[in-house]
Structures are given as C-alpha cells and as structure tokens.
Amino acid sequence: MSALFDRIREALAPKVGESSVEHGTLVLRIAPGALLDVVGALKEQFRFDLFSDVTAVDWLGREPRFEIVWHFYSTMHRLRVRIKARVAEAEPVVASLTGMYGAAHYMERECHEMYGIVFAGNPDLRPILLYEGFEGHPLRKDYPKEREQPLVPYRAGFEMPSGE
C-alpha cells in the first residue's frame, strides 16, 4: 500500500505541495493549475479509474476561501487518493475533469450549484438538484440558513418569505 503511495509522491513531487496518508487514503495538496496534470498521471500511470466525488469546503473568513476536494479509487490497487486545492472567492474557477471521467459531469454540476465553483470546460453547468432561477449557493456558509425561494405562490394567509 505505502509502496504505491511513495511511487505516486515521487512521480508527482514537482506538482504536489504537502502530502500525507490519512485513514489509509493518500492526500495530495496541489495548486489549482496543476489539477489536470496530477489527475492525468493518476489515471493513466497509476490506474485510478474510478472518480468517486468532487465537493468543496467553505472556510468562510479564511483566504483563499474555498477548498475543493476530489476523491479517486483504483479498482486495481484498491486504494484511494484525495486531492485538495484552494481557490479564492473572487475567482472560484478550476479545470473540469469531464474530459477524463464521464461521472464528472453530474458531480461538478452539483458542486457548482451548491458552492458556486466554476468548472471550466464542463459543457453543462445547469442546476441539477436545485431549480432554474435559484439565487445564491445554499451550502455556502453565508447563505441564510432559513432563506426559502418558493416556486409556487403561497395561499392566502401565508406570508411569502422575503428574499434576503
């Protein structure tokens, strides 16, 4: 297990900042620009053929604000790799993985609507769980937790929620 992780670290050393092994998963911290090179090497060279998830963490108050997290699994080695990259609130853009993994289409759409991360190269970033016209990104820490955006006008006697 660690032998493969060591080989990955060695091969990707110039592009990876910190790296560690947490709960049996190799964690690589990279700059957003290095994403395609790192993932390409993981896929082609080290056989990480399953793209499990992409999500984001909102560190409100820190700079850069968002941390994007990708998870990969190798069905050959039965090992997992986690990649983390940080992007600023002013320009939350990172490359899309749709060219390498088909599953990236849907997962990037969800991450886009919930956190407002833009995946450059994803051809279709329409809402997938939310609806057209939804303002803001509900999993960002500064989205008011009780703010509702109804699609149907409420019946008489019920106050429509105000758009904060």
């Binding site: 769980l129 939310l130 609806y131 989205y143 703010r147 955006q149 109804p150 149907v152 019946r155």
Partner: protein
C-alpha cells in the same frame, strides 16, 4: 298461452326491513362518500414505508373504504401527501391537486408534510398547507398506523358532516 305472473306477497308476509329509510339528503351523500375514499398516494419519502404498512392487511384501510389507491389524480378524491415536499416539487403537487375532480380532500401524512418537520432550510416547504388546502394533519415521524387510521376516521367524520354541493334544490 299462460302469461307469467309476478308473485306479489300479501301485506302480511312483508318483513319490513329496508322498505323505507328516512334521512336527510346531505347525510345520505355524506354517508356514501365517507366509505368510498379513493386515495392518491403522493409518496415522496420514508413515510411511504408506513403508508404501505397501514394499507396492507394487518391494519387494512379497506375497513374504512379507503383501500384502493388510484394512481391517477383524475380517479381519486383523497390526496395523501406522504413525506417531505421540497420547493422544487411544490409545482408538481399543485398540479396533481388541480387535476383531481371535486369533491376532494387532502391528508397531510407525517410531520414533514404537516409543517416541514425538522427540515428548516432552503429546500423544504414548511407545510403543504402553504400550497394546497389540507383537511386532516397526521403528525409523527413517521406516524403510527393507528394514527393514520384515526386521521382517516376524523376525515370521515368531516365528510359526513360537511355540506355536499350536489345537494341542491333540484336534488
């Protein structure tokens, strides 16, 4: 050439049962309607498990005339909203309710349909009565089958006592 004859029992042999009933017209309609509920299960979440158990044999809503689910709103008169309704789903719920013919009733099954339950966030409607009128609320997460049956009986009581629009001066 013998014409068939219809036997007519002499007055003295009649049993008397069901010869005459004496009731009010709207009570008669209410009595008929409360035992012929055709539910439309609008099942969105985990309460659906409890809906299955309440409509299956051990609890048996057939005893209340509400056994046969119709999977088109046009053939049903009781909309059972079973589970959480989100804002994205609210237009669908409204459309289903609008497609139902009068007379129609709505039962909010479970605490999410009643008030949003513990979901108070960007996604969940805080009670379906914001979208459509509700006749009976059955809280619980999920409600026990006994509570649902109690809710159906409350609805039957309501139907039996309400005014029915087909009762007018021509009927």
């Amino acid at each position: 050439m013998n014409a068939p004859t219809i036997p007519i029992r002499p007055e003295s042999q009649k049993s008397g049962a069901f010869e005459y009933i004496c009731t009010r017209k709207d009570e008669l309609i209410g009595w008929a309607r409360k035992f012929s509920l055709f539910p439309y299960p609008f099942v969105t979440a985990c309460c659906g498990m409890e809906f299955m158990s309440v409509s299956a044999t051990p609890y048996d809503t057939d005893r209340f005339g509400a056994a046969l689910p119709r999977f088109t709103p046009r053939q049903s008169d009781l909309l059972m909203v079973v589970g959480t309704v989100t804002h994205k789903q609210a237009p669908i719920l409204l459309k289903v309710w609008e497609q139902m013919c009068e007379p129609k009733w709505v039962l909010a099954f479970g605490v999410c349909a009643t008030s949003g339950g513990f979901y108070n966030n960007y996604a969940a409607v805080q009670g379906i009565d914001r979208i459509i009128p509700v006749d009976v609320y059955v809280p619980g997460c999920p409600p026990r089958p006994e509570m649902v049956i109690d809710g159906i009986m409350k609805l039957q009581e309501k139907i039996a006592n309400q005014q029915h629009l087909i009762v007018n001066d021509r009927f």
